[in-house]
Every structure is written in C-alpha cells, then in structure tokens.
Symmetry: C2
Amino acid sequence: MPARNPTLEDVAQRARVSTATVSRFVNNAAVVAPDTAERIREAIAETGYIPNMLAGGLASSKSRMVSVLIPHLSDSMFNDTIEAMVEDLSTAGLNVMLGITGVSAERTEQLIRDALSRRVDAVISSGPLNAETRELVRRSPALFIQIWELPADPIGIAVGFSHAAAGRDIARFAVSRGYRRPHLVTADGARAMERRDAFLAEWREIASGEPSLSTVDIPSRFGHARRAFAEMRRLPQMPDVVICGSDYLAMGLVIEAQSAGLRVPDDLAVMGFGNSAIAGEMRPTITTVDVDGRRIAREAIAAITSHQKGTLPDQRLIDVGFRIIARESA
Amino acid sequence: MPARNPTLEDVAQRARVSTATVSRFVNNAAVVAPDTAERIREAIAETGYIPNMLAGGLASSKSRMVSVLIPHLSDSMFNDTIEAMVEDLSTAGLNVMLGITGVSAERTEQLIRDALSRRVDAVISSGPLNAETRELVRRSPALFIQIWELPADPIGIAVGFSHAAAGRDIARFAVSRGYRRPHLVTADGARAMERRDAFLAEWREIASGEPSLSTVDIPSRFGHARRAFAEMRRLPQMPDVVICGSDYLAMGLVIEAQSAGLRVPDDLAVMGFGNSAIAGEMRPTITTVDVDGRRIAREAIAAITSHQKGTLPDQRLIDVGFRIIARESA
DNA sequence: TCGGGGAATGATAGCGCTTGCATGTATTCC
DNA sequence: GGAATACATGCAAGCGCTATCATTCCCCGA
C-alpha cells in the first residue's frame, strides 16, 4: 500500500472499475450493479479508503456541512436545542461547524465568513446580524436559518416562536395565579427585551401596579441571581413573583430566596424560561415556558434537506409555539 | 459582476496580478509588496471575493479545521472547556467541527470518519475509542489529542490530569476535614471510576470504615441527585459527606439535602468535581476540584499549532493538574 | 432478425486553489 | 562595475473528486 492516503483511483484499480463508478458507489450504492458493488466494497476495505470530502465538495459545490452559530454554551438555555441539533444533523449526514459568537458582531461576521468560505449548505444562527453580514449571507447560496425567533422579514427562513406572545402569556398567567407585584429579571438581549415589553404592555392592560425590573448581562445565568435578588430586596415593597429570563436564573433566585429564609412559592414565586432539564428537577420544580428545542432542530433540518433538493420550504416562518408549564415554584 | 461566486481568478484580473500572488496575499499578506497588496485588497472588496477553503484545503492538504468530540453538551462539566476551546480555536484561525458522541462507539467511529474525510488538522476527543477506531486515527496524518485524562499510551498526545491522583487527594482532603463516613456518587464512566477506585484505596489506607457507593448514568447531572440521595437515606447510617462526580450533581444533592431538612455542611457535607461556574455561585458555595479547562484548551491548541509547523510537541503527556477548592459545602 | 431503449459503466473536463520552479528586477558587496 | 543576493511575481501542474456525455451490452417486442 502506498504511503499516501488511498484515493478513489486506488480503489478503482483494485476493483477493476473506473473512478466514476467508485464515486457513484460511495454516494449512492444502489446505482451500481450488485457484483460490482461487492468488488468495490472489498477494495475499499482492503485499501482503507477514506473519501476526501474537500475534493468532493469542490467538485460538486456542496459540502454536507452546516454552520451552527450560538451566543454561548455554558448554562445556556440553548444547550438542549443545540445538542438535539448536532445529533440530528449528524444523523442526517450533515456535519456541524460550531461557532460561538458571544455578543460580538465582528465575531459573528468572521464566523459567517468562515462558514461561507467552506461553502456550508446552511447557516443556523440565533443571534442578530449587522447590515453588512446580512448582505453577505443574502448573496450566498447557503440557506440561512434563524432560530428561536420569528423576525418580520427573515433573510432565509426562521424557526422559532413569538417572544411577544410569550411575554403576554406570562403576564396573563401571573395574573391568573393571583400575583400582584411581579419583578422581571431580564437579560440584556433583544429577545428577552421583547418578552419583557410585551409582558409590561399586557400587565398594564389587565392588572394594576407597575412591575419592577432588573437587567442582567447576557447570557442570563445562575450567577446573576445573587445581584438580582439583592436588587429586589432593596425595593420599597417585596415582589410576590419574579419572572426570570432563563431557568438557570430562576434556579439561582430560588436558591437565593431560600437562603434568605423565604419560602418558594409562598413568600416569593419564581418563573423561569426555556424548560431546561433542571427546571423539572429542581426543588421546588420550576414553573417555566417550554419551547420545543428538538422540534426547532427538526424543522431546521427539514428545511435544509428540502433546500438541497431544490424545493424551497413553503413557509419562511415556522412557528413552533411555546407552552407555559405550571409547576411548584409559581 | 458574474452571477457565480467570484474566484481568485476574478480578483487577480482586477488587480492585474497572477492568481498565485492573490493566493499569497490571502494566506500571508506580508509576502507581497505593499502597493500590490493594496490593489489586491481593493479588488477583493470590489468583487466581494470569499475564498473557497474546500479548494484551498484540497490543494494544500490542510483544512484549518479541527474536530472536537464530546460525549454530551447539557449540564456537562466540559462546557467551560469546550467553550474555551471553540473560542480559542476560532481565534487561532481554526474552525471547529463539533461531534457529540454520547456513549456510543459506533457514533464515535462515524464522527471520526467524518472528520478524517474532511482532512481535519486535528481531532480533540474526550471519550474512549475502540480498537478499530484507534487504528483509523493512528494511520491518519491528523493529530489526535485526548483531553481530560492521561492515558498510559496516548495515540497522539494527551492533555489532562491524573484521575487517580484526584481520587486520592479527595480522600485525603475528606479525612483532613474530619469526615468519617463518605458516600460516593459516581458516574458510570471510566474516568469517574478511576477516581472512585483511587479514593477507596486511599481511604482504606488512611481511615477506617468502608465508604458507601452510588452509581449514576453518564453524564452525571443534576437530576440524578434525587435518586442518589434516596439511596443514601436508606443506608443503615447516614453518611457525613457525599463526594459527587460533578458539580451539577453536587448542586442537586445540596438541594435534596436541604429540602429534606438537612443543613449543608453541618448535617451533610457535599463535594463536587470540575469547578463549574455554578459551584462558586451556589449557596452554600460548593467545595470542588478545579481543573483548568482553559489551560487544557490552550495546550491542545499549542500542540496543534506546533504540529502544523512540523515540530511535534516535545511531550506527549501534558499534565495540567487539579486543585481542591475548599468552599462552604465541605 | 433487427432496432430501440434502458441499465451499467467509462472517459474526461473541470471545480478553485497552492506551490515549486522559473523569471525578472532591485539591492548589495568588493 | 559586475557578480552575487534577495525579493516580488508569474507559470503551470496538480490536489481528489463529480458530473456530463458517450459507449457498451442486454433484453425485448415487432
């Protein structure tokens, strides 16, 4: 065996067929005759051939790779979605190029450039894009998929839900539960703000008293709870429910409250967002808003698949909805 | 402008140089004359050229991509390491192909094949490999980096620490703190087992009484705490310290204990592992073992960089050590 | 018996880039 | 002042694959 990596050519010679046939076999075994297929299979095994997808991608101008861009990894409410996404993509024969954007527009642009320069089939992203980057993406043949939100005018398609509707429903829920003095702990990001604003608008509509607010850095996480709780304590009157931007934050608030001697939910109710696994496992279990991350992943992948076949997905906005899950904490 | 993507050729014509020079500029702007560089820069901006790394990778047989393989994403103690890894790699101009292996050897093999077929420069992995996959990797020119452990005979190089030493030190720490009846909650994985066995051996050496044990599924996480705690309660005598396989698990146990009316650490002490961000933010703060995830990331990347220059890293085993961080919970 | 049609395969021209070698031009040294 | 040296650039041969088109071979119906 030659020192270099075996190529299609090596396999072809060994199987006494042309490289074209081996290529066909590799990409769709069904199109070659059974006995030829068998010879090729053997030749591949004997040579230890591993396809070179750089060459394949160059020739076919499709890379079977998709770029997934997320703001953060740690304690993020995306984790479940991302895990599902990566697994499902992998199952669909697509490899994942992961990028962590943070809150930086430059980093995002760089990551998108990287993705495009690898000729990814699609970019799945969950953060905001600046004008220049939008243009970059629009020009490219890659399918752009925004997840976790439903912008009015998506670049490619969007799979998510209405954060405004979520904010509104949370307000209604809080009212229906009899809470009177909500406190919102909001992450400093566009989507969280949208939920907050919708909450406030609805609250003013159907209840009285102005909710109090805290803002925490993005990503909203466990550790921010301490400061938010301290802020609440300094309020003239203690809130009776705190609405958090994520389940991790909610968990943190439960812990802070308990450690200050408050009972949850009797003295202070807590709501989370995202229905991360921990929300159901905490004591008390945390009332939260469930978003079907696996469905988002599935829809995104379905869109990619149909895009590859040339048939554009029929809807550009896919609303997966959300669901308030009432548990013990509120 | 042509409808198709602009190529090196387009840029070259526009800048009145050869494609070779443009290529040089793109890869290392310093090697072309300043005024030529300027012309090329303009031409790139005007055409909106985006390099095709599939072609580049094919020609140069280096892809500037590395595969990162991890078992899980959610609540994982790897999260911080992975986040650091992805960010640092990205900064170093390397893109990340992410694979989630779960506990499946087939999936791992498939992901490694995928990685090799894209001719990644390196594979960073933190799980076990079966014999066939090891062979696959060994043959390939990609650098293989095992992280979070130090196997006796690494395939490529390994960056991690001795789990046996960690287990031993944890035992010593527990003894020094005066605990007498430890309970171990161990994840069902090789590394956790190694720590456990070393703990047991050391405990038998320097203390008396046999520690009690629970095993939880991999990955060890928050939700497993409930069952582990229930098991402890059924013990003839309640342990005075519980040693957990991860900080998430430890957090879960603190919550379970508190919700059962026990005080931590007075009635039950709790130790975690990994020093995830939450460990320091929990109430009580959690005593744990710190592993410098960022350093693991840095060392791995340094190894890749030097491997690319042809100089193999001088040590195949890089021990980043660990450190017990005594906080409130134990 | 012969032609038509389909299935399986082969030949080959790129895909867009990198890189060793050749060439040309400016700089340096004695 | 001429040779030696360094520097900037061009030329062109691939890198390993895919996809188009052409070819061969068989089977089948008229």
